[in-house]
């Protein structure tokens, strides 16, 4: 059991992480990194311990442990970035990395002493029972419970796979402005995949759940809950009819449905594409970009959410930002490089996958605020359309604004009621266009269960998406039934 409060934080964690790379060594690396000049030097230290356990065909397939540690060194000079990393923590290797990163600056420069001072990070993800301290046997017991619940859900469930992962990622960020800050980022996730079969038809259902939380999570959301949801989706799909093709009204369920906003809007509000004038939202702050029913927020401070961060990977504390307020664009998500070049405040969105990567602007927990409509009423308002309940993921093309997302559980809406489940389909739309077509927003805001991971420029980071039930007046559904 380990509880880290604000006061004990630096001593509890700082002592741990400091042993990895002492402050004095970090200061020497920062000095070396700025030896040819430059605006900012930064050292990012990471040590991750991951446990993964897959269960397939009723057997614990393996028990897996991973350690990744390394140091990334970045030098920023104007619009240019020099980056190098080392997984060898010997000072010789690290100084070499610092010199490589330093090459981006044109000089002249001289090596001068840099002193860093420890700052306290906020604490948005208190962990009560640290997964890193728990035995593999305890974790396999959870997997077996999920497996049992999946098969017991329905005799048509023929296969179940259960995957458990926990990660304890310790990071230190220090820079030549004198910052030194550390964070422990715990991540927990269970995913269940079921296969349902009936006569000659086979369908799968996937559900995942978790967050930045300890084992106490499973007292609230049980392994059985996660398994039954995956099994339910697979069984529902057995009766699915081909999805329709063409433009029609769409009702998007709350929670996971926020993937629509993440793709349609979120990526276009990241400061790198704004600064480079590649986003359709460049230069539009203060303008109406969405229906006034839309208020969109990126909030890193939500307790225990998968996308929450105490500090970003540049050491900036996590924050809550309203990006679109009642349809009007209010601001962008920044990292240090783009924020400085654009004269915008830091919003704590400079994130990276790990020490191999330099930070870029990324979302944390991105969601739409609740509206006034009754979710049932929203469905009743549609004569012929589609209801989307569960999702596979999405993609956006920032410059054109075109985006897609895939439905893994959806239904036809006929005369205001859900009728048949439909087969998996991809939906396509244009971001700015879709936002003007949001005609009803439900009162039932929910976040996704803790399953989403966002990929950008080859880097994956855990995120959270969220949304109330929303009606879009028309969108193209990519089925086969014409």
């Amino acid at each position: 059991m380990r509880t880290i409060g604000n006061l004990g934080y630096e001593t509890a964690l700082g002592a741990d992480v400091s042993s990895l790379l002492p402050k004095e060594s970090i200061e020497s690396l920062l000095s070396a990194a700025l030896s040819r000049g430059g605006d900012l030097a930064e050292v990012f230290v990471q040590r991750s311990r991951t446990t993964s356990i897959p269960l397939e065909e009723r057997k614990i397939r393996a028990a897996e442990a991973r350690i990744a540690q390394g140091v990334g060194i970045r030098v920023i000079s104007g619009e240019k970035t020099g980056y190098a990393y080392s997984d060898d923590l010997e000072m010789d290797s690290l100084l070499e990395a610092a010199r490589v990163a330093a090459h981006i600056a044109e000089g002249p420069g001289t090596e001068h002493a840099i002193r860093v001072t420890a700052r306290l990070a906020p604490d948005y993800y208190t962990v009560q029972i640290d997964p890193a301290d728990q035995s593999a046997a305890l974790k396999t017991a959870l997997l077996k419970r999920a497996n049992k619940a999946a098969y017991e859900y329905d005799p048509r469930i023929k296969q179940a796979d259960v995957y458990y992962t926990d990660e304890q990622k310790d990071i230190i960020v220090a820079n030549s402005d004198g910052l030194w800050i550390a964070d422990r980022q715990t991540l927990l996730r269970m995913m269940v995949r079921c296969l349902a079969a009936q006569r000659r038809v086979s369908r799968s259902g996937v559900y995942a759940s978790g967050g930045r939380i300890g084992m106490e999570y499973f007292d609230r959301i049980s392994p059985e809950d996660i398994a039954r949801e995956a099994a339910r989706i697979a069984v529902v799909q057995l009766d699915a009819v081909p999805a329709p093709a063409g433009m029609m009204p769409l009702v998007i369920g709350n929670g996971w449905g926020g993937v629509l906003l993440h793709e349609a809007v979120g990526h276009g509000l990241e400061a790198d594409v704004i600064r480079k004038n590649m986003s359709i939202y460049t230069g539009r702050v203060g303008r109406k970009v969405a229906s006034e029913l839309c208020t969109l927020v990126d909030d890193a401070t939500l307790p225990n959410q998968r996308g929450s961060i105490n500090i970003d990977d540049e050491g900036t504390p996590g924050q809550r930002k309203v990006l679109i307020e009642r349809g009007v664009l209010a601001g962008y998500m920044t990292d240090r490089l783009n924020g400085r070049l654009m004269g915008l405040p830091l919003t704590g969105n400079g994130r990276r996958q790990g020490y191999h990567d330099y930070p870029i602007p990324r979302m944390t927990c991105f969601f739409m605020e609740a509206g006034d409509s009754d979710p049932e009423e929203i469905i009743r308002s549609v004569d012929h359309g589609v209801y989307a309940g569960n999702f596979g993921g999405g993609e956006v093309d920032i410059s054109s604004g075109n985006f897609t997302f895939s439905i893994t559980e959806g239904y036809l809406i006929e005369r205001g009621r859900l009728s048949y489940p439909i087969r998996e389909a991809t939906l396509v739309g244009n971001g700015p266009d879709i936002l003007t077509k949001v005609t009803m927003v439900g009162s039932d805001l929910a976040l996704d269960p803790g399953t989403s991971t966002c990929g950008k420029s080859g880097q994956s980071v855990p995120t959270t998406v969220g949304m109330p039930t929303v009606k879009v007046s028309e969108m193209t559904v990519g089925g086969t039934a014409t």
Partner: protein, 445 residues
Amino acid sequence: MNYLEFAQDVVRSAVNAGAHQAEVYIQTGSEFHVDVRMGEIETLAQASAKGLGLRVFVDKRMAFASTTDFHGPVVADLMRTTVNLAKAASRDRYNGLPDVGPGPLPHLNLYDPAIVDLPAERKIEMAREAEKAAFDCGPRITNSYGAGVGTHVGTQIIANSNGVLYSCSGTDCTVSCAPMAEGDGEKQFGHHWSAKRFFGELEPAAEVGRQAAIRALQKLGARKVETQTVPVVFDWMVGPLLWEAVFHALDGDGVHRGMSFLKNMLGKQVASPVVTLVDDPLMPGGLGSVPFDGEGVLCARKVVIENGILKTYFYDARTARKYGQQPSGNARRGFASLPSVSPTNLYLKPTNTDPSEIIRGIANGFYVTQTMGYGVSTVTGDFSVGAVGMWICNGELAFPVQEVTIAGNMLDMMRSIEQVANDARFISSVVSPTFKVAEMTVSGK
């Protein structure tokens, strides 16, 4: 550090610590990358990296661990932890290393000293050339995501307690460019790249830039079309999406568990007779070429689909034992992951047909140049993705199209492939020449 000896040492120590079988997989390498945007260097990144994956079997129970820290005490501790972790896993009588000892390693030509010695200045210059060539394609190219050049030199080593000890080194170099075109308030980007193991085989940087600009310009003025069922042409950049999904549906594990739309299809017609799909790990200079797989099985060329007939499924050591097959040599991995069945150089065999000939034969159809999203199910075979491309009218590319989807079932799609072209480009590990599917649903207005 001599990594070959190190790998063997760790295997021996794991066995001494109680493992009945042990396997070590090591990756080491160095990489360099430069991004140029609007003529200026945006990012320079350079690093060396290494990692070790240890797999042990204790009493037919499997455990795995990986680390990037090679220090003696860390590795010793990891080894004991791994052997101990195995107790948490289930006993499975099919578990274990492949039942093969060491064999003669085929020599593949995968290493080019010219890439190792390529000066950073030259790489920066190449990225600049690519981006400049894109801007030279006219005033409607107004902006750029940038152009990049990356090089990578790497070695993989596998050692196991059956006496296997293999090592293989390779190089690769990538040039890419992503310019943006603008017109009437509309922004469209295009993307093109070249990637090779040998520097001399790369497409000239300027040509990469030019091709990327053509893709961006081609999309200006794109519109949505009516929902309809028409012939759909997958160009060389989008075709690999289908073949990669098909390959995953051929994983013996999923097939035998009833989780694949290609189960019970061995020896049957799964595609039209013009389709021959090959997985060739021994292709000279291939980006996916490798002499041994992630379990130490020697790799071999396999015809996957021959004239439309499905010839093989794919197995790793465990699934081969379980289903009475031979391991395919396709268990691929990084140091931090367990081996899993994956393609090496997977390609649809090209013909002599020029893509323009395919287009000429279509009165009303859709030529797809970019897909978005991944609405692809290997369980049901359902395929539904966002698409961008050109509408074909009377045998000619008439106007650009966006914000539509294409959908069908992969088995129906493969069986209705009418033509395959000659334009296979081996710049990724899954390769497809342009091909025509007789009909799919295009969903738009």
